[in-house]
């Protein structure tokens, strides 16, 4: 297969992957961020202590996390049809991807927010801040580097899930690799697709690390996410 033949297929597949990952990331943030914060606030010792809510949210999140994505994708097909009107195509796949990513991100958000020093919460309260103020001014900004790292992990997981979504008609790079590389023995296309996926994942990780570093003002001693992929750049910046 020549590059001229591959090029339109690849750009179409990239676009589809982008739609699937992009939309589901946005929805995952909209759902996972509040859920994660809620898990921390309602926990024992939290600002909105509420065992019932905490348990309920925890169970829902665990349920979403324990279901293998392939099964989740198929079991929500009726729901997907109800929301989008079809079960085929990149747009339709946004539904199962979002449902899979929300609990995933919620746990990561929970861990990140829990790391924030309780003293800061106390300080904001002592100034007369409400719970909402504590969340907005202390919990979220202070955990931002970890939140960005969590989001990066989620996006990369979503790229992986989106390849699976390709198998049931979602399109995208995974679908391309299976249809051409696996079923038609177009090894060259398979290799190119893998290459493209590696580049995308690397770029996302790099962007995430850079953003997390930029958001962190704690200095180099603490748990700042270091650049994992670009050592020389990190070295020049440190000098």
């Amino acid at each position: 297969m020549s590059w001229a033949e591959m090029q339109p297929l690849l750009s179409q597949a990239c676009w589809e992957t982008l739609i699937m990952v992009g939309w589901s990331t946005l929805i995952a943030v909209a759902g996972g961020l509040p859920l994660g914060v809620l898990l921390v606030l309602t926990d024992r010792g939290g600002l909105l202590r509420n065992a019932t809510v905490n348990k309920a949210v925890g169970v829902v999140v665990n349920l979403g996390r324990s279901l293998p994505f392939l099964i989740l994708m198929i079991s929500v097909l009726p729901f997907t049809r109800w929301v989008i009107g079809t079960t085929i195509g990149a747009e339709a796949m946004v539904v199962p991807l979002s449902i899979g990513a929300i609990p995933f991100l919620a746990r990561l958000v929970e861990t990140a927010v829990r790391e924030v020093d309780g003293g800061l919460v106390e300080a904001v309260q002592a100034m007369g801040g409400s719970t909402w103020t504590v969340v907005r001014k202390a919990l979220l900004p202070e955990s931002l580097p970890s939140l960005i790292a969590g989001l990066t992990t989620t996006v990369i997981a979503l790229i992986g899930y989106s390849a699976m979504a390709g198998t049931i008609g979602g399109g995208g790079l995974g679908d391309l690799a299976i249809r051409y590389g696996y079923q038609r023995f177009e090894t060259s296309l398979m290799l190119v697709t893998i290459g493209v996926l590696i580049v995308i994942v690397t770029a996302v990780q790099l962007a995430g690390d850079l953003a997390a570093r930029g958001a962190s003002h704690r200095g180099r001693t603490s748990t700042t996410p270091r650049l994992r992929l670009l050592r020389p750049a990190a070295a020049t910046e440190a000098s």
């Binding site: 003293g119 300080a123 904001v124």
Partner: protein
Amino acid sequence: MITTTGLTKVYRSRDRETVALDGVDLHVREGEVYGVVGRSGAGKSTLIRCVNLLERPTSGTVEVAGRDLTALAGRSDRAGSALRTARTGIGMVFQHFNLLSSRTVRDNVELPLEILGVSGRERRRKALELLDLVGLADKARAYPAQLSGGQKQRVGIARSLAGDPKVLLSDEATSALDPETTRSILQLLRDLNQQLGLTILLITHEMDVVKAICDSAALMKGGRIVESGKVTDLLATPGSELAHELFPVGGEPSGEGRTVVDLTFHGEAATEPVISQLSRTYNIDISVLGAALETIGGRQVGRMRIELPGAFEDNVVPIGFLREKGLQVDVAPVAGDELVKEGAK
């Protein structure tokens, strides 16, 4: 300015009850620096957290600047808007500073003003003014991670003053700092107390802090205040544990059959050559076991432990002479004897 009445706090875990505060009555007058000292676990931290109701007392009332905060808080576990408004008028500084690492120094100081709903330009002006007050005007754009411990605490103090509080609560503010920095932070607190008429309630486990800046002090043990009052009065109280902790005079008696006496000099008595007079008048040899001289609130106070030959019975007259001279005399307990503690009249 701050009054707590019958303040009690009981922590309940599954099968245990821990009494952190056991009926604490605290009275802090307007404009004074009041120190609460005690070992860790004595309940100091719980006490100061109960003053702005970060910790809800199990029973008892807290009044700050004439307002009953416990009534404002109501029964709800969460801070209602009335309590939150009251808190904006009470500054608080912490042992570990509790600055937001994601904000610059100036933005940290602006935070309470944001909560108060002050406009952007006014916030900025006020923040810079406060940073100037604590001597950190040049660090406005730095992040907390770039500051030293003492500088961080100065930011903490600037932040606590943003709401123009009448009362400042200091929770072990200098305990994480080295002695030199501690002195400068205490000096700053003293200056703020005098310039702004700020009432300061501080808790600490360091006696030096009380010695350096407190007008009044209280000693906490096992959730109770066992002793309290003005520092100068405490020193004049015979057998005061706090006075002894503040100005320890050591020294063991050199042998049996001797009388050990602790003397406290105040005001004029501090300048009189009492010891040599005693020695000459009764023709006895006096050995000094230990001595300390301190300045409290601009007044010199001295403490001395001396040893007189012979048992207590033989020294009744010389001890009477010392009392006559206006000294406070405590006879130290003799080993094997009942506690002999005699107070001044």
